[in-house]
Symmetry: D3
Subunit: 284 residues, 6 copies
């Protein structure tokens, strides 16, 4: 069973609206290698786990729980990037008489038609998320190889997204996720290490230079690339795997730690030209 | 942020394998109106919520948290129905030299090719779950109408599934979910009631006769159709909406209550002919 | 604008339920070359038509209007094949306590979970109909070539479906549609003939032997393979194209004629174990 | 059986080309809540209808027939918005030697590659229409709830689209459809009223202020939001449901009326750089 | 069995990057009528061929082998159009601190997120290629009709694409493919001619004027529209069909000829801001 | 450029028809981890390759060429399993008057409706192949990790398929492919070894016991698990990577070798009840 506390796992840094950045950030939410995929993949792998080596199942479940917070963080970041991207006014009362004409620009028009300037379960090209992305074959080595590849691709894609806009809202969330995906890459690579693999200098993938992603630095300084947050309310064997030297180049110690303290969920303003929430005169 | 305790929200009742039942039960997991849909729909609606009437957001988030446990329950039930549905043996060593020939019968062959006799993110016809199922338009009335329709369809489909097999593992989970979907139907119908609707005798949909679904009776006796479990670790305003007489025919009082005590997750046996988990000689 | 009279374009011949036949007959409704495709393809081609050669547009629109009746006919035929395919009883009160256990056999389980033993917009393998099937490129020759290919494939698939069950409900509808698709094949092949093509002995495709499809014979005797029904309430130039010798081997004269007189829509019985329509005690 | 008269259900108001508006207007045609969905959903619900309460089936069928004209209206409006959006010339003979370079701007490139500057069965993001959108469960209450939600979403999306461009061709069609979707919302909400629901002040959804959508006003003045057009050539029981006070806030009387008189279908010019229709030298 | 020589079937003409052109050129690769479709369609048709008239199978297989080279050519052309479309720099070190901000313009963002400025198996609107595009029904006439329609649509779409940008890289590849698709149109139209059809002046479709596509002229002068390249290392009966006068208007002789001599595959530069190939310090 | 010789890469062993086996074998052709995926993935990775370390590109291209022969082999095997699975006769002239009633059993009905008892680009559940399966990110490590995972999953799925039927046609092809996928697993694992990884005893995945897959043994005895066939007609640097001790447990030497000698393509009989090829009276 799952429990919830209304806290974001990281802060939302304010900046100007950037709906084009919101469009590409959808990849990190509803893309083939985004947070909905990791959430669902690890959900199926842990529920379908066979046999007694439950330290591996606890590792997978442990990462899965964090992905729930990642989904919420990316949804909230996209919303922040979209908030206020249209003009004031409803119907023909906005600028040029067309307050949502931004939807004809380089944006995802569904952000304005279906979402009320809010996130959607789709990728950067507007394709809906698909269950066919999930890999859960029940062979531990195959599942772990896929997870390593998935988390590596997560970092790779996010380091590419980072370069697409200098918007601070956008970059802070990406930087946090890059470092956390790196930690999850370490988790699954380490699991394979316990089965005999020596990764040499292969990880992390990609081999990013921290100086070029300055927002990442503070999270690395906090050790977030080598930590696994523990969201379990009961015992877990995750520490049997996630311990000892990192499988990444730095070989620093891996550690299971308490979750971040949590950050407030920003309140989203009413959006009359989206009829959202649309309670105006029901309440009057 | 989300937290987890390794407990199922309801018990798994043992019975014989029934892979054909497992195939149709996928609808309740990965179907258009299954638990993955409710989970994701309420996730997006609560993250995308606009305005100050947060009692409604807390209601939606509250149901969403329970859906996480429903997903886990249906995954586990499908696994239980599949466990042991093949013959012993690996390669050409089983009965008739083809231990997995059950996969050529009326089953979902992917349960044996991709899942290791385990659940998948697909529906009863094998179509993968799609992000296009999610409804989150940010207009509170429209979202609530969709949620009422969604939960009604959930009960309707599950009452039809119930009639497809008398397997006890299958029916116990369905009975629990029928009653809980009824509660969630009440939750969203009640929310519309607070906006002025009087539902008359419309609910529940469908209008099922408890005597024909005997497994449901104990959950109704426990009041599960009128209760909303509270999985929040902090304050929530859900009780401002989920209170007073039920919008269903019975008009009994609605109540926010503590979650069930939790039930053990069954251990899944190793499945050599699926090479799951496949650690045999790595460990030797 | 469109108008409607509650009449089927052909009769529904009664026979026993045959849900496996209903499953494959879905191809003729929601398949890549089924009636929903022809309906939508000709709808787009006629609305998107450019230029003054409107006799071709009237031909395409003329066929499109008939496809509306074909959709209705196949929907009704599938329903007839499904009606009564489950047992009596609701919940655990049917045969073996599982009145809908037929849904675990060789059927489309969605016929029982989503449809209430009724038709769906999917194909024989359960894939939903897709807008990507529609061909409307606005080049008249290309569009007509596609239409000839589409109608030829319609006949081909239906002559294969015919061989899958000797159920009379199933075969009568298929026989009618085979002959009508043949007429539409003639319509589009003739249109290309007016542009200079001589088809030789190529048509019809496939080259079916009437004696092997005895139900087809009466429709051929009625001249339905060489006729185009006129459902227009105003003038149409369709006769400028659909006239003269058939482009098929027989070279018989093509003729625009009045629609069939129409056949009654069978009343569908209530289906309590599907909760359909589910009005039982609302009315009490 | 269906019949046709070559008349549009509403006028096409001329204005400049606006291919970006054409792109988003696709949502109203091939989107999840567009006219193809309503057409097909009501087609399946009426063909699959069970039991004797045929006044409801006649209501659903009645709306379905009008949707055929809506599909045609939106197709034609999109075409009008696209007409002339490219430059003159073919091959390398246009402006800058690239007459269709508009297709590299904020448009749907398929409008130029597949359509010959013409409509497609896709949504605003270019996703093809899917049969999985259709809801037809055969439980009357569930089907009606879905229909109310569907028509509400139709109005909601169209009122958002309206704000995206001040193009007159675009807005006139949207205004007409907003008012008609409102009428259909009334139709299904009223049907639920006959089953005992009192909607209070909930409808219409969204609660739009007419002054902000001036093009809507004339249709409201004509009573189009409270009227159901009767396209039946035979008897219908639709009036048993669609009568009495509106379920919307205004409580004005609902009435079944004759269809609009009809408007001419604009002739679409030849488009040489699209090779449409491409009959040039075939005729020479 | 297949063999390979590292040569492109046509040259890549250098020009400036044009990522918007790369986006629409995807249609010719992963679109419904692109090279992946022709490759796979002819692969299935030739493997599934029945009966002794193997001259037709050899024709289909012969075209299929060339499509492999077309896939490679379009992939390489898209890559050339994308190369250098971003700025120098990695992370926050590029122009404006966002070296890949081009991905927020009118491009396919997946070209920068998934591809490392490289081709993808998708169409111009970003929809992934689908197996449902393939037509292989095993009826020779039906298959050939579809192939004629497919190749005609290939030429039609490419002649439209040609008009979208005057980029030389883009146009040279399109011109070559227009002429080759014309040859393949001839191949399948000729095959139907051997079965008795006389096409009159119908082909080629569309009826393009060479003067408007000057890059096509040299390939026509080389006879590429009437030639079929022979990539077989063993005997083939293709010449029994592909011979005699062309079915196109010009009636020139068809001829099986040797493949082009081959052109070098351009070397793709490393792309540090895409972490491609990302071997930098692994090698150090 | 590609060249072709009409030879299968392995023999087709005759046995009885087994259409249910044909249905599941589709996974190895059109499934998420089947031969169409490997073909297309390696096609995109080699065309999109960046930088000078071309030994890796030559390795990827080398495997890609073999996948072309694998596609052909699986297509042919599926056809062999389907051949003769229906009864004799056409129309109502077969057994029970329904010669294709096998299509209502546990088969893929599309094998009889679309294929003429022949292969399709779909998976074991009937889902069409999708371009979204392809992984080509241009980061060499990420691409290689995905390839290792893909080939491992190929072996895993095929070893599960093997257990589903003892049909010899089915098993011989699977055994050959299991061993070849093992070789390709070695190829990509070795490539990562050259970048510093030591795999320990991890490979092969799954860890299958040869004695339980006796058909595999002869291919292992021939060294096919440690060989890479060279289908290049020009120079290749593949041997720079594919050499030295295997990364698998056995550490045997890897070797680039000549392709197999080739096996005849079986002639497929005409299938009158499928109207395939349908040339009967055209030739008379």
């Amino acid at each position: 069973m799952y429990f919830y506390k209304e806290d974001l796992i990281n802060m939302i840094v304010p900046d100007k609206p950037d709906p084009a950045a919101a469009k590409v950030l959808q990849e990190a939410l509803g893309g083939r290698f985004g947070e909905m995929r990791t959430l669902m993949q690890f959900s199926f792998q842990s529920a379908n786990f066979r046999g007694k080596a439950k330290q591996y199942r606890d590792l997978i479940r442990g990462v899965m729980i964090e992905e729930l917070s990642h989904v919420e963080l990316v949804q909230t970041t996209i919303n922040q990037l979209l908030n206020g991207s249209g003009d004031e006014g409803v119907g023909n009362n906005g600028e040029d008489g067309a307050p949502l004409d931004i939807a004809l620009e380089n944006v995802n028009p569904h952000h304005y038609i279906m979402g009320a300037q809010a996130s959607l379960p789709v990728d950067a090209a507007g394709n809906p998320w698909s269950g066919s992305y999930v890999y859960s074959h029940g062979n531990l080595v195959a599942d772990l190889l896929n997870n390593v590849m998935l988390e590596s691709t997560g970092v790779l894609q996010k380091s590419r997204l980072y370069e697409m806009s200098s918007n601070k809202t956008f970059r802070e969330t990406l930087a946090f996720l890059i470092v956390r995906d790196n930690a999850h890459q370490n988790a699954f690579a380490k699991a394979l290490e316990t089965l005999g693999v020596d990764w040499g200098k292969l990880f992390p993938v990609p081999n990013y230079d921290l100086n070029k992603y300055p927002e990442c630095k503070k999270y690395v300084d906090m050790g977030f690339h080598n930590a696994q947050f523990n969201f379990r309310l009961d015992e877990t064997r995750i520490g049997e795997v996630f311990q000892g030297p990192s499988p990444s180049r730095n070989k620093e110690p891996l550690q299971v730690v308490d979750p971040p303290k949590g950050y407030p969920v920003p309140e989203m303003p009413e959006m009359p030209n989206e009829h959202a929430p649309g309670l105006y005169d029901l309440n009057s």
